[in-house]
Symmetry: C2
Subunit: 112 residues, 2 copies
DNA sequence: CGGTATCCAAGATGATACTG
DNA sequence: CAGTATCATCTTGGATACCG
């Protein structure tokens, strides 16, 4: 559990992984997707993900420089965990009586 | 995802939840189960879990004082997440080439 | 038994500015 | 475009001692 928790822990990490699940992204592109994430922290997260073997980087020489961050198979293996985090979050919100975080799908039934 | 992640984040939190999954426990009992967890941090975790509605406390007057910490329904709703954390951890370990944490079910192939 | 109060060391995070 | 360097600060976790 430690390794899984470490993989997704740290502020912005889950959001960053979520963006990468949608396909390869560049540095500035990620900055735009996550506007409140400072370049320093983004850089740190990306390096951490690389060290854990969850992300690979591909650099295209030329001008301007192009970089692509892409999930490895191990990185993609986190999808089920992210889904479970989301599902558990929803369950918690309904059990503890808070409002849903995004659109209104608390309507009929959140018990499923 | 934030709420689910918050629920299980923090050092010792998953281990603490794991113990509580086994049934109600007392403070000193938890200390014994998690020897390296200081009383201050245990106290903090327990309060945090209460604030999030994941744990309830029952105090028995008399002597000596008896306290029982018990998971609420919301707290028990975390079981699936803990299981997924474990499963994802295992998957990560085999994909990134580390040794398995428990029994050997890495048999097939770690060379890829 | 069941905690709380203090103090301290480390790490995480963020703002800002600068480089290739 | 794609980062790194620096600095200040907030948050965590742990050791220890003490209280009801």
């Amino acid at each position: 559990m430690e390794v899984a928790l470490t993989a997704v822990s740290g502020r912005w990490t889950t959001l960053l992984l979520r963006e990468l699940m949608g396909g390869p992204r560049g540095f500035t592109e990620l900055r735009a997707l996550l506007p409140d994430l400072s370049p320093k922290v983004l850089s740190e997260r990306l390096h951490a993900l690389q060290e854990r073997g969850l992300v690979t980087v591909e650099r295209r020489r030329g001008f301007p420089v192009r970089t692509r961050y892409e999930l490895t198979e191990a990185g993609r293996a986190l999808r089920a965990l992210l889904v479970e985090l989301y599902a558990t979050g929803e369950r918690l919100l309904s059990l503890t009586g808070a409002a849903s975080a995004d659109g209104d799908h608390t309507s009929g039934d959140t018990t499923a």
